[in-house]
Each structure stands twice: as structure tokens, then as C-alpha cells.
């Protein structure tokens, strides 16, 4: 429940950010504050190295972080579900290949792989989404495959097979609806992980440096020496946002799981 409230709050901020904040206030050439001002009435969370309000940056960053998080999760889920169902449904070499690829992605360490991909693609928000999407689907695929295998063993699928239903029909009409609740629960947990990944990659400078996602804000803080100057107001708030959102998604995901377990 707490998770849902937190999420609702952040989603609201993300939607309202462009309405509440004029682009002027994020324009570096028109920034009014001093460099690294500590929190004050005018700047409740202090200012960054350009004299911009960190509170406003953060609000705008919510938009970017959530967008990247949801978009990358979507890619991850689509790939994961498709690969999982196909690997579970088909037999033979094709299925083996899919399982092999899934295992490969599971074994390869996530961050080094993402770094390599992001380096090759170049820094931009879209590339970041793609990179996270294609490095985070494997867990879902394995899960869905296992579920598909168990569903396909059920009698009514056997029957529809016997009645000559095509592969496509079986997969979309029978398997997909049955694995969907699982996909949903997995999605919320994946969003949490994807947002963490986004933060990490942006911190390493692999996102669009001009789009102030939470990770990118932390990157600026780190590279402009906020740490050595003790400018905690530049570091603390973005991290708290990440923790809250990730925690919220995790809690919601776990709750959904419990509900599903109760049902089965």
C-alpha cells in the first residue's frame, strides 16, 4: 500500500513536471543561484554547479528516470515473454538455441555487458533504454519458459493441439493469457531493477549527459566535486528518490506475488 502511494506521488511529479517547471529555470545560462548553495528558502534543496535549483532538477529527473525505467522494462518484457513462450512451446534446435541465448545473457555479468553495448551505441537516452532492455530480459524469459512448459502440459492445450490449432494460435490464445499474471508480477520487480540499472549507467556517464535523470544528477555531483565540498544536498536527494521508487516497485511486486500464490 505504501508502495502504491509512493509510486502515485512520483508518477504525478513526472506528469506535472513540465507544467510546474518552466524550461527557463533549468536553463544553465539563466540560472540565478550561486554555485553549490546550501539549502535555503529560495532553493529548498540547494543549487548545483551552475546555480540551478536541485529540487527542480530532481522533479524533472523523475520524468526521465521513470520514462527510461518503464520503456526499458517494456522492451525487456516483450523480449523475455516472446523468447520464453517460444522456447517453451517449440521443440528441437530452435528451442535449444533460444535457451542457449537466454543462458548466455544470464551468465554474462550485467554491468560490463551494458557498458560495452552503451559504448558502442553512444550516449543517448534512447540507446540507454535499448541497452538496459536487451540486457535484462533473460531472467523473465527463463521464468516464462518454465511456466509455458507447465501450461502446455495441461489437458486442454493437448486437446487444442489434437484439434490442429497452429503454433501461433496456441501461443497467443492459450499460453499467453495463462502466463500473463506472472508477466505482470515480474514486470514490477523488473522495473525496480531497471531503474537501478539506469541510475548506475547514467552515473558512469553512459546516458544522455544533457538529460538530468537521477543517475545523471549523481554523475554531475560526482564529477564536479560535490563530494569533496561536502555538498550533501546535491547527492542525498537523488539517491533517496531512487531508493523510494525502487523500494516501492519491489514492495508492490512482492505483494502481487503473494496474491498470486494465494490464488494458485
Amino acid at each position: 500500500m505504501a508502495g502504491l502511494i509512493i509510486l502515485a506521488f512520483f508518477v504525478l511529479v513526472a506528469i506535472l513536471a513540465p507544467i510546474l517547471i518552466s524550461p527557463e529555470s533549468l536553463d544553465v545560462t539563466k540560472a540565478t543561484g550561486e554555485r553549490f548553495d546550501p539549502p535555503s528558502l529560495a532553493y529548498p534543496l540547494g543549487t548545483d554547479e551552475d546555480g540551478r535549483s536541485i529540487l527542480l532538477l530532481l522533479a524533472y529527473g523523475t520524468r526521465i528516470s521513470l520514462t527510461v525505467g518503464l520503456a526499458a522494462t517494456l522492451i525487456s518484457m516483450v523480449i523475455g515473454t516472446a523468447v520464453g513462450i517460444m522456447a517453451g512451446h517449440f521443440r528441437g534446435a530452435g528451442s535449444h538455441a533460444l535457451v542457449g541465448v537466454t543462458d548466455w545473457f544470464l551468465v554474462i555479468p550485467f554491468l560490463p555487458l551494458a557498458i560495452v553495448l552503451a559504448t558502442v551505441l553512444g550516449p543517448s537516452t534512447l540507446n540507454l533504454i535499448i541497452v538496459i532492455g536487451i540486457t535484462s530480459w533473460a531472467g523473465t524469459a527463463r521464468l516464462i519458459r518454465a511456466q509455458t512448459l507447465s501450461i502446455e502440459g495441461r489437458p486442454y492445450i493437448e486437446r487444442s493441439k489434437a484439434l490442429g490449432a497452429g503454433n501461433w494460435h496456441q501461443m497467443t490464445r492459450h499460453v499467453l493469457p495463462n502466463v500473463f499474471p506472472l508477466v505482470l508480477a515480474n514486470t514490477t520487480l523488473t522495473v525496480a531493477i531497471v531503474i537501478l540499472s539506469e541510475t548506475t549507467l547514467s552515473f558512469l556517464g553512459l546516458g544522455d549527459p544533457l538529460a538530468p535523470s537521477w543517475g545523471a544528477i549523481l554523475d554531475s555531483a560526482f564529477s564536479t566535486g560535490a563530494v569533496s565540498q561536502g555538498a550533501w544536498w546535491y547527492v542525498l536527494p537523488p539517491g533517496i528518490c531512487v531508493v523510494l521508487v525502487v523500494l516501492a516497485f519491489t514492495l508492490v511486486g512482492r505483494a502481487m506475488e503473494r496474491i498470486m500464490e494465494g490464488r494458485t
Binding site: D27, V28, T29, K30, D208, P209, L210, G225
Partner: protein, 630 residues
């Protein structure tokens, strides 16, 4: 293997090494001057290293024929005390100082100079760093031990700027053309590298430090400090902290943030010295090959001088200095920085004036469109790609500022962050509209000026287009004629006049918007050392100069506090303690770092496991009693 090779060479040729290896024992504690730097050197081999830090080592280790004055960057005496050129300007005669000797006592003669230059002239690999200096030279001879005569194809002022490190033939003749590529040029354990500069390398630990000792045989006299240590720090914060704590005496290449925190600290003097670098916003003025064949896909608007002029007026250079450099720099003007006062000009006409910029564009027929973006006379909106370098935080930051400045005059900039490697290729192929980058300008302006000549545009080789030095694709016959004239003008004053005209041409054509000249931010323990010499005197950098003036002149502050302070800094020196354990076999030397660390790891993990087990056992026992009570 490489190390053994040096050891072999050294053992065969050097006689009195141990004496030089031990720092001079005038006092119980040697005076150690420790400099903190942010990047390790890439090589001590002057044919291999390219980083600024490496060049600093080279010039400390090896003297050059002529030097660059600390006062105003004019050519000055080096190993040669005098030099003259023939009437046709094609024959140059250098007379070496009398009684020059290498640090190992071997006489340094004209033969060493001839050896070094011939090695570069004949070598392939050796030309990498010095090709430009020798391209014009046809012969180098030594009529006697103190005279070097060079002949050239055409007269050239570069003959007074030969920044070629003269190497000891008796050492380097043992390193053949093949071996030189992988030659580390590091001293064997307990020995010094043979050289002719003020300091000599005695020890290098990759990623940690480079230790040098004063050269007794230095021709300008032995430096005031006994040891010079360069310590490597991973980030500017650590560098600043090290200075505060007194681990180092001098910090070079600080960031503005750290520099500000050091200001006003007791015992520390901060110094923002003018530097010879600038950053610019460059335009694609019509990308083409050397033969004029157009390449790339640059927006033709960029070829309109009025558009570039408008952009120049739209950029608030002062704000960039204030915000990006935190005030440590000066607004930009021309491609020769003001630190070269004899060459630099500042026309001062392209002021920050967005209203004027808008007016220029209005008059040029770039009418404002409905969405706030102007439309060119060709019907194409003024939307341009602007590349910034992900390698540099300030470049990315500049992009943000440019975007806003340009938006104010109806131009939409699409900021594209790429790494320098990729950008170099993009520029070479002309696939850009604008980009942000910078240059560091040498005292001799030839190289910098050449980047705007027609002949330095991209070229084709085997079907591939490659970048040369030109990144603006500026091409102007008048400029090229002036370039040719200055490159053969051996009278410095007359040449300066030509160079000024050339700067004016670039400025008026707005080939670059030079955004700022940045300062070199340095800080030092003024409670311990004094005697630093700026280049140019009074305003320029204290270290990382064209020369080694500060190193030669720096001295401990006074006898009584000096003793105390220097012992403090001596304890921060790696010298004494580490040379003690290094007396073993050569094989141990390679791995000593690793085995030590391995040992530590083993011990730490063992200790932690034991602690963990004890805690776990204790907890379990108390737990089980607790459980039984339940």
C-alpha cells in the same frame, strides 16, 4: 626483458653510478620537492610518450639545443650558448657550451646532438614525436666537439625551436631501431637514468610515483632541492587533500572546485597562471578534400559568414568563463592565446550582443519561423548538429550553454555527445555542422596556423577519407600565402606581424568562435618552498612550462623551519623505505608489488574469517541458551 637490457647497457657503460644514485648528503635529510599530478606518464622513452606529464619528465631529464625564454617565450640558449644562420637562412650553426658533461661524467659533445638528430632523420618510429622538426633538415654534422651545423631545404624559424631532447649516444646506441619501440627507458634498480637536464629519474612505480634526483652536472648549476618526486593522484579532490595534509608541496592541474577550497588555507598559495590553451566552437565551413572535392553533409548555412558572425555575437564568453571555468580564465578572441603577448591580438569586435545577432540574421534573410526557429533563404530551418566531447565534462557543459545561446537567436542546436575518437572521424568526413574542442598552442605558432590552410583539409587514401589537421575546412589563398611567408621568415618581429594578420583573417571569417583561454590552476606549500618562476614571468604557469625554470630555482623556505618541514616531506617520500627492500634479485623486482599485496590480502581475509567465526560462535552459543530459555 626490457629492464634487463637497460641494466646491461648501464652496467657496461656507466662507471660512477652509485654516487649519483644516493641523494646528496649535505644534510642528514635530503630536501624533497613533491609534486602531485593527475595522470601517470605513459612512457619515459622520449620517442614513445605523448602525454604532457611525460614531456615534463623528458625536459627535466634531457636538455635541448635551444630553450624557450621564461620571460616571453623567445628562443634562448640551451645546450647551445649561441647560434647563427647563414645569409640565405639555410645553414644553421650552433655552438655548445664549453665542458658539457652527462650526469654519469661522460662528456656531452656535438656528436651526441648529431647522433640524436640523425636517429630521428633515419628512423621511422623516432619521427613520431619529432617529425615536424626535422622535415626541413637535410644534414646535421659536427665539425668539432662544440659545433653543430645543420642545413635545411628552405629557411625556417623552426630551427630556433627544435624541441628535440638530446640523448646520450653511449646509452642509446645500444637500443636499435626495433628495440626502441618497446624500450621503457627506466633506470635499473638503484641507478639513475643518464641525462643532461636538472633532474634525473631514479625510480618509477607505475600509477604511483616518479622519483628524480638533482643532477650535479647540470650546466646551469645543481638545483636547490635534492629530490623531485611526482606523485600520481586519481582525482583532483585527492590532490587537493594531499596538499592540505602536506603529502605534496605542489599541486598541478587542479579543477576550479578544488582550487577554491584551497584558497586561504594556511601555508598554501593558490596560483591561476595563464596557459597556452583555448577552447572553441568550430563550424563546418564547407568540408572538402585537399583538391577541393566536397565531402560530408554539413548544412550550407554554416558557409555563410553572417550566420557564423551572428552565432559569435550570441555567445556570452564572459559567462562561460564565469560558469564553466569558475572565473579562472579569460574570454576568447583569436587562435593565439594572450600568454604569447608578442603574437596575440584581440580585435574585440565580436561582443556578446544577441540583439545584434538577431539583426544580422534578419538582414541576411533568415526569417523567424513560427516555432521560434529561423528559416534560411533556402527554406531550410536553422537546425544544426553540435557535437560535444564526452571525454570532457566542460565540453558537455558548454554544449548546454551553446544550446541556450543559440535558441535565443532562433537557432536550434541538436547537442550530440560523442567521444573524441569518434568526433575526430566525424570531423574528418565533414559530417557535422558545429563542434566544441580545443587546442594547446606551442610557442612557435606554425603548427596552429597550419590547421587553417587549404592543404590540411581531409585526404583520401585507398577509398577512405581521413582527417588531417583542418577541422574548420577554412580555405583562403590569401591566408595560405601569409602562412608560407611566416614559415620562412626568420626575423621574429617581422614574423609576428604576419601572424597577427593571419589571426585577424580567421577572426573576421569566424572560422572559430574562440570561447575562452583557460588558466592552469596550481597551488603550493608556500610555507615550505619559494622561488618559483612563471612563464611568462609574473602571470604564466609555474610548472608544465616550455622549460624547467621553477624546478631549477625552487628552494626550501629557510634553514630552521626548512629542516623540520623538509623532514616532514621526506617522510612522505617513497625513497628511503622502499629502496631498502628492493635490493634483492631482479625477478623479485617485477613481482614485489604483487606479492606484497597478495600477502596483505591473504592476511586480511584470514583475519576477517577468524573474527567472523569467533563472532558467529559466540552468537550461536548465546543464541542457543536464549532458545533453551524459551
Amino acid at each position: 626483458m626490457i629492464r634487463r637490457l637497460i641494466a646491461g647497457v648501464a652496467a657496461a657503460t656507466i662507471v660512477a653510478v652509485p654516487a649519483a644514485a644516493v641523494p646528496h648528503a649535505q644534510a642528514a635529510d635530503p630536501v624533497v620537492f613533491t609534486v602531485g599530478i593527475l595522470s601517470d606518464i605513459d612512457s619515459l622513452n622520449p620517442f614513445t610518450g605523448i602525454l604532457a606529464e611525460s614531456y615534463e619528465m623528458f625536459q627535466l631529464q634531457y636538455a635541448t639545443l635551444l630553450s624557450t625564454s621564461s620571460v616571453d617565450f623567445t628562443p634562448d640558449a640551451g645546450l647551445a650558448e649561441s647560434w647563427e644562420t647563414s645569409a640565405d637562412g639555410k645553414t644553421w650553426t650552433y655552438t655548445l657550451r664549453p665542458d658539457l658533461v652527462w650526469s654519469d661524467g661522460t662528456p656531452l659533445t656535438a656528436n651526441d646532438v648529431v647522433y640524436t638528430f640523425n636517429r630521428i632523420l633515419e628512423g621511422r618510429y623516432e619521427q613520431r614525436n619529432y617529425g615536424n622538426y626535422v622535415r626541413n633538415i637535410t644534414s646535421v654534422t659536427a665539425p668539432d666537439d662544440r659545433t653543430v651545423v645543420m642545413t635545411t631545404k628552405v629557411p625556417s624559424p623552426i630551427m630556433e625551436r627544435l624541441a628535440v631532447y638530446i640523448l646520450p649516444e653511449h646509452v642509446w646506441s645500444g637500443v636499435d631501431a626495433k628495440a626502441v619501440k618497446s624500450f621503457a627507458n627506466e633506470p635499473a634498480e638503484g641507478e639513475t637514468l643518464v641525462g643532461s637536464g636538472p633532474f634525473l629519474v631514479v625510480e618509477r612505480r607505475t600509477g604511483q610515483f616518479i622519483r628524480m634526483v638533482a643532477n650535479d652536472n647540470y650546466f646551469k648549476g645543481r638545483p636547490q632541492v635534492d629530490e623531485l618526486v611526482f606523485r600520481i593522484y586519481n582525482n583532483p579532490d585527492a590532490l587537493g587533500q594531499a596538499l592540505i595534509k602536506g603529502e605534496i608541496d605542489f599541486a598541478s592541474g587542479l579543477t576550479a572546485d578544488v582550487f577554491s577550497t584551497l584558497e586561504g588555507q594556511e601555508g598554501i598559495t593558490t596560483y591561476a597562471g595563464s596557459y597556452s590553451g583555448f577552447n572553441e566552437l568550430a563550424f563546418n565551413m564547407g568540408a572538402a578534400l585537399v583538391d577541393g572535392t566536397p565531402i560530408g553533409d554539413g548544412n550550407p548555412h554554416m558557409q555563410d559568414q553572417r550566420v557564423r558572425l551572428a552565432i559569435s555575437h550570441a555567445i556570452d564568453r564572459q559567462q562561460l568563463v564565469d560558469k564553466i571555468l569558475d572565473g579562472y580564465g579569460t574570454p576568447g578572441a583569436t587562435i593565439i592565446p594572450p600568454t604569447y603577448s608578442t603574437l596575440h591580438i584581440d580585435p574585440g569586435t565580436q561582443t556578446y550582443d544577441p540583439a545584434l545577432a538577431n539583426q544580422i540574421l534578419d538582414e541576411a534573410g533568415y526569417a523567424m519561423g513560427p516555432d521560434g526557429v529561423r528559416i534560411g533563404p533556402d527554406g531550410v530551418p536553422m537546425k544544426y548538429r553540435l557535437f560535444v566531447r564526452t571525454d570532457s565534462d566542460s565540453s558537455v557543459k558548454s554544449g548546454e550553454y551553446f544550446k541556450s545561446y543559440l535558441a535565443a537567436i532562433g537557432i536550434e542546436a541538436d547537442i550530440k555527445p560523442v567521444d573524441e575518437n569518434a568526433l575526430f572521424e566525424i570531423i574528418g568526413r565533414g559530417e557535422f555542422d558545429m563542434f566544441e574542442w580545443g587546442w594547446v598552442v606551442e610557442p612557435d605558432p606554425d603548427y596552429q596556423l597550419s590547421t587553417f590552410t587549404c592543404g590540411k583539409r581531409s585526404y583520401e587514401d585507398g577509398g577512405e577519407v581521413y582527417a588531417d589537421l583542418s577541422d574548420s575546412f577554412f580555405c583562403d589563398p590569401e591566408y595560405d600565402a601569409l602562412y608560407a611567408a611566416q614559415s620562412e621568415e626568420t626575423d621574429q618581429a617581422a614574423r609576428a606581424e604576419i601572424v597577427k594578420q593571419m589571426q585577424q583573417i580567421i577572426y573576421d571569417n569566424v572560422a572559430y568562435v574562440v570561447t575562452y583561454y583557460y588558466d592552469n590552476l596550481e597551488a603550493y606549500r608556500s610555507d615550505r618552498f619559494t622561488g618559483f618562476v612563471g612563464q611568462p614571468e609574473g602571470s604564466g604557469s609555474l610548472l608544465f612550462q616550455y622549460g624547467t625554470y621553477s624546478y631549477e630555482n625552487v628552494e626550501p623556505i629557510s634553514a630552521d623551519t626548512g629542516g623540520e618541514e623538509s623532514s616532514a616531506s621526506a617522510s612522505a617520500s617513497p625513497g628511503a623505505s622502499e629502496s631498502a627492500d628492493a635490493g634483492g634479485s631482479t625477478a623479485a623486482e617485477e613481482t614485489s608489488g604483487g606479492s606484497n599485496t597478495g600477502l596483505i590480502i591473504g592476511l586480511v581475509i584470514a583475519a576477517l574469517v577468524i573474527i567472523g567465526l569467533v563472532i558467529a560462535l559466540v552468537r550461536m552459543r548465546s543464541k542457543s541458551t536464549e532458545d533453551m530459555k524459551e
